[in-house]
């Protein structure tokens, strides 16, 4: 029982796990920029990472994950539509 209590005490909160993932993704994005990796593939990969980060903030930090109505999709749709438009623009630019 004591062991379980200690394990819970030192367990990471879900929001802390999300924070660590967000920071890791940010460093990956920065490294791609620092490495001067250019081209459509890298641009879209970086955009994809940003959209996932936005989804995580909306779902876990804003608390939309537990919403049963259309509000659940507000942030997801907002990320999806500009994401598609940006992708379209970058693909058309070559």
């Amino acid at each position: 029982m004591q062991k379980t209590h200690n394990r819970n005490r030192y367990a990471l909160r879900p929001c802390t796990v999300i924070y660590i993932i967000l920071v890791s993704f940010t460093f990956i994005t920065w490294l791609i920029g620092k490495s001067s990796l250019t081209g459509l593939g890298f641009s879209l990969a970086v955009l994809g990472i940003a959209l996932i980060k936005g989804f995580m903030i909306g779902d876990y930090y804003m608390g939309l994950r537990g919403i049963n109505s259309i509000w659940r999709w507000v942030i997801i749709l907002w990320l999806f539509i500009p994401g598609c438009l940006i992708t379209w623009a970058f693909v058309s630019a070559g």
Binding site: R13, M62, I67
Partner: protein
């Protein structure tokens, strides 16, 4: 907003519904800005790629980390007030505002550097977008800091508790919106070439 441990099922988003109408309007404006930037870039790829080289990605990294960290602090503030830990909630909110302050200072350093090098809104199309987008977001960060500070003051006055914390959630949602916008802005303006 759920505590750090559970997912709460409900029909409406956390916070006051009015803030969500405001958030939707703000997000729509930023979405139009992003799409306009991307399609304008498609006609001036060389100019945009060359201009991007003069941006400081290290400062942008610091700013991204500052906003992500502040969002984390805000989540902890909401979790604290749900547990009736008002003083802890205030501390997390102050920490979040401090992170916002770091963001502003770094951004001012960046703007100063550009102006020192003769780069401004009229330099070219890329910098017109760069200054417009980042300054528009900059103003949102200031507004977010004002909202979080007001929430912290009200919390100190005892307006919030584990049964009445809508105000804290409302401020938190606005701040997370400011964070999400920057998460797209950062790669779009600084990284994607």
């Amino acid at each position: 907003m759920p505590s750090s441990y559970t997912i709460e099922r409900r029909d409406y988003p956390p916070g006051d519904l009015a803030i969500w109408i405001f958030i939707l309007a703000e997000l729509l404006v930023f979405a139009i800005f992003f799409a306009t930037y991307a399609f304008t870039r498609s006609n001036h790829v060389a100019l945009f790629n060359h201009s991007q080289l003069s941006l400081n990605t290290n400062l942008a990294l610091i700013n991204t980390l500052a906003l992500i960290t502040s969002s984390y602090f805000v989540v902890r503030a909401v979790a604290a007030i749900r547990e009736d830990k008002t003083r802890l909630c205030i501390r997390w909110l102050i920490a979040a505002v401090m992170m916002g302050f770091i963001f502003l200072v770094v951004k001012i350093i960046e703007y100063h550097h550009h102006y020192h090098n003769g780069i401004n809104l009229r330099t070219n199309l890329f910098f017109m977008f760069y200054f417009s987008l980042t300054f528009f977001h900059f103003m949102h960060v200031i507004l977010g800091m004002v909202i979080l500070s007001a929430v912290a003051i009200k919390a100190r006055q005892g307006h919030y508790s584990s049964t009445d914390f809508t105000g804290v959630e409302t401020g938190a949602c606005y701040w997370h919106m400011v964070d999400i916008v920057w998460l797209i802005l950062f790669p779009l303006i600084y990284i994607m070439k």
